[in-house]
Point group: C2
Chain length 344, copies 2
DNA sequence: CGGAAAGTTGGGAGCGCTCCCACTTTTGCG
DNA sequence: CGCAAAAGTGGGAGCGCTCCCAACTTTCCG
């Protein structure tokens, strides 16, 4: 490619080489490179020139070794690529995180883990302190990756806690309130056979949304029936499946609170196939306010959770934790909001 | 969290500590850790015990510095999170790459770059040799990131070349043949007003698909008309826009070759809005064979490109390049195949 | 039974950088 | 003009690991 200086790693100029060329000491070059004060203009110029001439770029591994900082953070998503791509929630999180760290020197590394092998490799990576901190979303209750994180002692922030007494810092949407207001809305519409499609129950968010559903029902004096609860895994296909099941078990259902928009889209498909009109026959409320909620037919009434803001908050917490390690963990709860469109 | 040995980086046990505890030399410990041969069972046991007792984990930065290997590769996607999530092509690539490197020690790092800031940060990251090689997809003609890659001299493989005389190793689908067969199919159906919606023209794939369209037309003796060509950017919205435009300019259009399935989905929406039946009034062929092609109404006839296999091939080339650096660049062309469903 | 070959082992010499201290030069002020 | 303080500078001492060689054991074979 360009000049000989580029090619193999061996040939790359070092700090020392720059120092020699500029006729100064290593310390001075280091100071210039790191923008430290206390360097005479003359020396600075000489060094800058030498750097330019040699095409010098600091070796991060060496810097890492010396400073024990990695200048990178990882966003771990324990899901398959397919889920990453199909779930808009992740995109928003990434966007939030990226925007929050944009004025730091931290490189964001996205890491997908779904197999045992990948988990082991990740362990080596984290143990080797290749990042300064870790963000993790889509946390399942007994995810071994979290244990891994606890063991490494790396600053960590979860997007979605595992339980109410989560010992790690986390950012959570107000799942309970969100679900509760969704179901109240359905009840307010006069619906009485209100079903729900939950997410995977090994995630706290799913359980809490279910709990919100139950409380709203209880408050309204409507008895909760087991037949009205179906389970999905947040995927569109699972929503379709769950809705079909619900329709079979309880043909009289007139409203459904679905724990995610993607599943709601699936549910819509099932309803349409069964010839039910939305919302005339069955009213539907989703959760997330994903972009697709606007484009369903009819547009989906849903609980807005501020995903991008979640990402931002996660990054903020992590930065604080990296800056002041050892401080006790913290949590942030972000409020949710019902967005009424046409499906309910 | 666990024992005191975990907490802050400072306290982590080193090779030397293990050696001391095991009563052997540093070299022996290193050999055990790296699974080298030539260690007596006795020493090996002692070392393993010491490692377990201390909870020793090698520091990667130090290893990196000593070996000048990073044990990681980056997959760079110069797009926004939104595009990453909405374009299923990326998910397949990731899956392919992940599966191909699954039995290596390499950690896959996903890096999104869309702003100038992020580009600068990436430069520092790559220059610092934090990865052993780079894969990049969605390459636009004049993308500054590619120049960056060339400058760093890091082993690199592109998913999609920039032009026919691409000096970097790459994996490409047979865009020309794919587009050509799609349009031939349309022509074979007796359609004569065949339009096309292209991708962004700063990508080689878009240009070549357009070229394939033109050739098929030319071979059939059908004159190419500028009015029949509209441009998109591979997004669904752009497909919808382009189709609307096409319909205005050329109401008599009876077939469209769309350069991506996502755009085709958008085009379908525009057609439906305009009251055209698919394929009766307008036949449609997409490109990619993304999962969504199966679920459109009607299911989309499309050109299948083996995205996952592309990811795999990219990883394979990169591994070779890392193993034998300096070898001249190589390329792989994967064939495409027309999948006939109901839209054409 | 001796010596060469094979099997093990310890540890020095870096890898390229930052940190920090001691030293030199410059500056400021009485 | 002299001296103390401030500013600027060089380079040693690591950071934790791998590489490699010299040295020591053990084994093998004539």
């Amino acid at each position: 490619m360009s000049s000989r200086s580029a090619g193999r790693g061996e040939g790359r100029p070092t700090l020392e080489a720059v120092a020699a060329l500029a006729g100064v000491g290593r310390g001075t070059v280091s100071r210039v490179v790191n923008g430290a004060v206390g360097v005479s203009p003359r020396a600075r110029t000489a060094v800058e020139q030498a750097i330019a001439e040699l095409g010098y770029v600091p070796n991060r591994a060496a810097r890492s070794l010396a400073t024990s900082r990695a200048d990178a953070i990882a966003l771990i998503v324990p899901e398959t690529e397919t889920r990453l791509a199909s779930e808009p929630f992740f995109a928003s999180i990434i966007r939030g995180v990226a925007s929050e760290i944009s004025d730091t020197e931290l490189q964001l590394l996205l890491i997908l883990v779904s197999t045992e092998r990948e988990r082991r490799r990740l362990a080596g990576f984290l143990d080797g302190r290749r990042v300064d901190g870790v963000l993790m979303v889509s946390v399942h209750a007994d995810d071994p990756v979290v244990e891994l994180l606890e063991r490494t002692g790396l600053p960590t922030v979860l997007g979605g806690r595992r339980s109410e007494l989560e010992p790690i810092s986390y950012v959570n949407p107000d799942n309970l309130g969100g679900a509760w207001s969704a179901v109240r809305h359905l009840l307010g519409l006069g619906r009485r056979r209100v079903a729900t499609i939950t997410g995977p129950l090994d995630m706290e968010a799913s359980c809490v949304r279910l709990e919100g559903y139950r409380r709203a029902l209880a408050e309204a004096g409507v008895p909760a029936e087991a037949e009205l609860v179906a389970h999905g895994d947040f995927s569109e296909a699972s929503g379709e499946r769950a809705m079909t099941e619900l329709l079979e078990r309880e043909p009289g259902v007139d409203a459904v609170f679905v724990a995610s928009d993607l599943m709601a889209a699936g549910a819509m498909r099932a309803l349409r196939r069964a010839g039910r009109r939305i919302p005339a026959d069955v009213a539907l409320v989703g959760f997330d306010d994903a972009p697709l909620a606007r484009h369903t037919e009819p547009p989906l009434t849903t609980v807005r959770q501020p995903s991008e803001e979640m990402g931002r908050a996660m990054a903020r917490l992590l930065l604080e934790e990296i800056a002041a390690p050892g401080r006790s963990h913290r949590q942030v709860i972000l409020s949710t909001e019902l967005v009424v469109r046409e499906s309910a």
